[in-house]
Amino acid sequence: MEAKALDQALAELRPSLMRIARLQLRNDAWAEDVVSETLIAALEGQARFGGQSQIKTWVVGILKHKIIDHFRRGGREISSDAVAEDSGDDAVEALFRADGHRVNLPREWGDPEAALSQGQFFDVLQACLERLPASLGRVFMMREWLEIDTPEVCKELGISATNCGVMMFRARMRLRECLEINWFGVKGQ
């Protein structure tokens, strides 16, 4: 790719990189940092981008590495809401009756592949991730987007395994509800 074309492609990618970095880090300044590092690395490493994959896939791969570096460097102070995870989560508890049965039957999601092939679906997914409380969003993204093993996620963030499991559970339940209401409930049937 021509240097100038790459410049422009990276500039166009910047907003979506920022959105994802913010989702993971929940901190604007850190997101700015990792995205800048990513764009610089992409410019310096463009010889390694053979055009065999989508440029976005390549750059997002760099972003993931930069975010993992960020965590390794210790930029991981956890916000105060993580500490309060011992308490209940009303949004999740509301899904069940006192006897443990679900209040409502989850919907069939139709053809998930059809959803995953639409860019609009990912807008809804990101909006749902934004709505997760910061601490839940962060652990869930580390697990499912950065694909770090759960014990390592807990260790990185200094959370006990039990607490970590509870947070993953709450994040998954909240996200599932949000996707069902805002995407599959509308489009999946």
């Binding site: 899904l95 997914l125 993953m168 998954r172 996707l179 069902e180």
Partner: protein
Amino acid sequence: MSKGWILIPCSHAHHLLSEQMDQPLSRGRRWRLWLHLRFCDACSRVERHLAVMRSAMRRMGS
């Protein structure tokens, strides 16, 4: 032994569904979940949804 040992409510099954996304379940838990899923549409759907969410998250941004 009470039947509660084998028959778990959906709330418990949901916890196990999440747990198995993170680590293999112990034999006892796997068996209780399997039994529950055989008879429960709600939890079977949630199991599929969690798998869809995982694929979606892995594709996000690329």
